[in-house]
């Protein structure tokens, strides 16, 4: 009955989209994979003490050193002449955009051949929904009780600024797209980074059944742009034929319940600007992908 490399009966929250993303990533990479997971929600996948639900070699790294662990494993494999093994870093937004940013930046700058997947649930969910550098404007967290006052970091652009050979975004609502990108990233002869939107029913305050629907809404409103950038060349993979207003996305989540009108207008303006820049760069919004 069990499929893939992860056991059933893991203690992820009901409706956790990170688990679906992890299963898709592991299934795509296959058994010749070494996984590095820092503390965070995905630490459940690495296991505790002498127990693990993951039937792949996995090491739980320090929170700030996922990419450094992965780079070290790759160096060890190269020293042994083993070139057919994937080295995967699988970290949340806190371990990527904030605490782990320096080691990720170093690994990408050195050109270490690692695949880094960031599941972005837009706050420190595992420790109690504290705001992170990836928390969007206006979102409630326990450390931004009146809504976050600043915008989020753009991780994709930070990675692109390093001249990374492969950077992409993905969503659990479009699993074929995610699987395709994981396979492409694993085949890249250098560092690769995939940023996956990860709706979190516990932290974003929505019913457990709505995770995939909200991920799809993020794409249809233009809030989450599904793109890939191969050697600097940008391609938007899913283009909503008619973008819905961002309020359609915001109203589905309790974390945006207290958002002000000016912040909604600022988010809509951000989204509109992003898409007009994409259109100006030759990525015209014509096909009805979503």
């Amino acid at each position: 009955m069990k499929k893939g490399f992860l056991a059933h009966g893991m203690t992820t929250c009901a409706g956790c989209t990170m688990e679906l993303i992890a299963r898709t990533v592991f299934d795509t990479l296959g058994e010749k994979t070494i996984v590095v997971i820092p503390p965070g929600c995905a630490a459940i996948l690495a296991g505790y003490s002498l127990e693990t639900p993951l039937e792949l070699p996995v090491v739980m790294s320090n929170l700030e050193a996922t990419a450094a662990f992965a780079a070290g494993i790759r160096a060890g494999l190269e020293a042994q002449g083993k070139n057919d093994v994937n080295v995967l870093g699988f970290a949340g937004d806190g371990g990527t955009a904030d605490i782990g940013l320096q080691s990720l930046s170093g690994a990408v700058e050195r050109g270490d051949r690692i695949l880094y997947v960031c599941y972005d649930n837009e706050a420190y969910m595992n420790t109690g929904i504290q705001g992170s550098g990836s928390t969007p404007l206006g979102a409630w967290t326990t450390t931004t009780p009146g809504g976050k006052a600043s915008r989020r970091k753009d991780l994709g652009l930070i990675m692109d600024a390093h001249g990374i050979p492969y950077v992409a975004t993905a969503s659990p609502a479009y699993l074929e797209d995610l699987a395709k990108k994981v396979a492409k990233a694993a085949a890249t002869p250098g560092p690769s980074f995939i940023h996956v939107h990860t709706p979190c029913p516990t932290g974003w305050r929505f019913p457990t059944a709505k995770g995939i629907e909200i991920a799809r809404l993020a794409v249809r409103t233009g809030m989450w742009v599904i793109y890939e950038r191969v050697n600097g060349v940008l391609e938007v993979n899913i283009k909503p034929a008619k973008r819905l207003p961002v309020t359609e996305y915001l109203k589905t989540q309790g974390r945006f319940a207290g958002i002000g009108e000016e912040q909604v207008a600022a988010m809509q303006a951000d989204v509109d600007r992003t898409w007009s820049q994409l259109a100006a760069s030759g990525e015209v919004l014509q096909s009805a992908g979503a």
Binding site: M1, K2, K3, G4, L6, A7, H8, G9, M10, T11, T12, A14, G15, C16, T17, E19, L20, R23, G47, Y48, L50, E51, T52, P53, E55, P172, L175, P201, P207, T208, A209, K210, G211, I212, E213
Partner: protein
């Protein structure tokens, strides 16, 4: 937390073939998360057209055979999140309270 021993992992060995001693308690974590469930997915087979979308989006991968015979849901582990029912394009899955029959 009941843990089931994992019999599928090969015995680890050093490069020269000597076995590495692994603690006897090494095991695959498995909690019967079905006990968390407040609502249970029930498939209406007259509406289901075996499209497989519920199986694809189940975060736990506990749905099988949705394209071949009928969707089989492993209620030992299903947490009752309702993603399958929400994604079903034919509204063929109902979430029924566990207290009712």
């Amino acid at each position: 937390m009941p843990a089931t021993p994992n019999k599928r992992l090969p015995r680890p060995v050093l490069p020269d073939g000597r076995p590495i001693k692994v603690p006897a308690a090494f095991a695959v974590v498995s909690v019967e998360t079905g006990a968390w469930r407040l609502e249970r997915p029930v498939v209406d087979l007259t509406r289901c057209n075996r499209c497989g979308i519920c199986e694809r989006y189940c975060p736990l991968q506990v749905i099988t055979e949705s394209r071949t015979t009928v969707p089989r849901i492993d209620l030992t582990y299903c947490k009752g999140c309702g993603v399958c029912a929400n994604e079903c394009p034919r509204v063929a899955i109902a979430m029924v309270a566990e207290s009712e029959e």
